[in-house]
């Protein structure tokens, strides 16, 4: 069934038990975004020092796709340098635009979200947390 393509095991697992789902007391930046279409909301917290994302967490409410995407995102970028995080973000955004994935390694578990592209109305759910990240680490890049 096509649904299994969207709701892969990894996604459902992250949705049910999201990682890094808490406020970050010593965050150096935080940002709240809402999806005006559905009211989904995410607050991203990050502690950034020496151009490195030392810690990153989130809070929010939304559908399985936006929550799993946020959870997977925090795992993927935690401990990474800003340059590395920007590169992962670009790869992810490319995948959401339906571009072929060049670097499987870089995306790792995030590849589970590739099925979202078959459900165009849900792409905006998956990119919401990444848009929050973009505004924090790459404000000059154009929004999706």
């Amino acid at each position: 069934m096509a649904l299994d393509d969207l709701y892969r095991e990894v996604i459902m697992e992250h949705y049910r038990s999201p990682r890094n789902f808490r406020e970050l007391d010593d965050a150096t930046v935080s940002l709240t975004l809402t999806n005006p279409l559905c009211g989904d909301e995410i607050t991203l917290y990050a502690r950034i020092a020496d151009d490195r994302i030392e810690d990153v967490t989130f809070l929010g409410r939304g559908c399985s796709i936006s929550q799993a995407s946020a959870s997977l995102m925090t795992e993927a970028i935690k401990g990474k340098s800003l340059d590395e995080a920007v590169s992962i973000m670009s790869d992810f955004r490319g995948m959401m635009r339906g571009e072929p994935v060049e670097d499987d390694e870089s995306l790792g578990d995030l590849l589970a979200l590739s099925g979202v592209t078959k459900f165009p109305v849900r792409v905006k759910c998956a990119v919401l947390p990444w848009e929050a990240l973009r505004q924090v680490i790459a404000p000059d890049q154009t929004p999706e």
Binding site: M1, A2, L3, L6, Y7, M12, R16, L37, C38, G39, D40, E41, R61, G62, C63, S64, I65, F119, V121, R122, C125
Partner: protein, 407 residues
């Protein structure tokens, strides 16, 4: 009413979505067009298309006759005393904005505008902006726990300061049918004008502006079997006379010099530029279609379907239904356990079922309900009990798919 015959009139309903028969439960957002409407539009485009009011030639005469005939038809449909009180606009939203800008010039600092927390953003934000522009105060009627307006509070809220009450006839989320009559008679005591958002009532039940005695009524063609891009603002003659035109240009003037111009009489002074004649033709055909079946019968059918839907959905553990049980307009808004409405709607779409998921342009109401979003199934003259059965079945499947944590 013979629903299986009616369904034959709607070609769009007979298609497969993801291999399943389409079940269209989103008519509160946009309803579908019967063949007679599609044909009327085509006939007009094939034979009569041309500009209105300006032409001396035959096609121009025909187009003008179509356009003004549609206006007269709308007037009869809602019981308006005269066609001049029917102004064609794009949709409900435009009608509300027209009144908020134009009639809004009569609002002064300290005046009060009274609304409800269940208004569609279209019937909230234009008034918010008006209040801000003119220094007026926005007030809201409180709701009881089932989402109905608490009428006992009205005497406190409707005072000499109240200049305008803007209220939806039927809520697009809760399905509440508001006691417009009571609100209007309270408004009459203090001389306030009443704007009725009829987007969810005019398509679904008989609405008579003379019986209601409202000052303004707005509705959209695309929610009543007509095409998009055509809507109606009805106004009482004296209320419309209190309004200056908002847009200027061709079609709306009588005499023009280089320095000044006079406006045409009602309703044309509010219809600057070439109007949506083909939209008006489609709307007129939609009104013929609805009238032929009878608004009473349509309303009765929807009531029956809605009662059936509420009964069936209530039986599904984990389903929370919002709004009063009965009476309610032809829609059911609900949540399924803690499964997000987007996820519910995606699974239902795979079953060929079209529902709406989100805040339905009612963010303040979502906050009042204390939910981020909801699922809405809405019904119309072509909805069958079998489709409701399919919805209930698909919801059970959705629960299975998401598995855990539900009732």
């Amino acid at each position: 009413m013979n629903v299986s015959l009616i369904r034959k009139d709607f070609p769009i309903l007979h298609q497969r979505i993801h291999g399943k028969s389409l079940i269209y439960l989103d008519s509160a957002a946009t309803s579908q067009m019967p063949l007679s409407v599609i044909k009327a539009i085509e006939e007009y485009a094939r034979n009569d298309n041309s500009n209105v009011h300006r032409a001396i030639h035959t096609l121009g005469e025909r187009a003008t006759a179509h356009y003004e005939g549609a206006r007269a038809k709308v007037a009869r449909f809602i019981g308006a005393p005269a066609p001049q009180q029917v102004i064609f606009v794009r949709n409900t939203t435009e009608a509300i904005n027209l009144v908020a800008w134009s009639w809004g010039m009569n609002i002064h600092p300290g005046d009060e505008l009274l609304l409800t927390p269940m208004e569609h953003h279209s019937n909230l934000i234009p008034w918010q902006q008006l209040a801000r522009r003119r220094g007026a105060k926005l007030m809201f009627m409180p709701l009881r726990s089932d989402g109905t307006i608490d009428l006992q509070e009205l005497p406190r809220l409707i005072t000499k300061k109240t200049r305008l009450i803007a209220v939806t006839h039927v809520s697009n989320v809760l399905g509440v049918i508001n006691p417009i009559q009571e609100i209007i008679s309270a408004a009459r005591q203090v001389g306030a004008r009443v704007f009725v958002d009829g987007a969810q009532s005019v398509p679904h039940m008989p609405v008579d502006v003379k019986a209601l005695d409202c000052d303004f009524l707005a509705f959209s063609g695309h929610k009543m079997c007509g095409p998009m891009g055509i809507g109606v603002l009805y106004g009482k003659a004296d209320a419309l006379e209190e309004m200056e035109p908002l847009m200027f240009g061709g079609e709306m003037i009588s005499t023009v010099s280089l320095e000044t111009a006079d406006w045409k009489e009602l309703p044309w002074r509010f219809e600057a530029g070439t109007p949506n004649v083909v939209g008006a033709v489609g709307l007129a055909a939609a009104i013929d279609y609805l009238t032929e079946l009878g608004m009473d019968s349509i309303h009765a059918h929807e009531q029956q379907i809605t009662r059936y839907a509420v009964r069936l959905l209530k039986r599904i553990p984990g389903v929370t239904i919002y709004g009063p049980e009965h009476p309610r307009g032809g829609l059911v808004t609900f949540n399924l356990g803690d499964i997000h409405p987007h996820d519910v709607a995606t699974v239902l779409d795979q079953e060929g079922i079209a529902v709406r998921a989100g805040h339905h342009c009612c963010q303040p109401l979502m906050r009042w309900l204390d939910v981020p979003a909801t699922v809405r199934a809405s019904f119309y003259l072509y909805t069958t009990e079998a489709e409701i059965d399919a919805l209930a079945h698909a919801l059970e499947k959705t629960k299975e798919f998401f598995g855990h944590g539900i009732g």
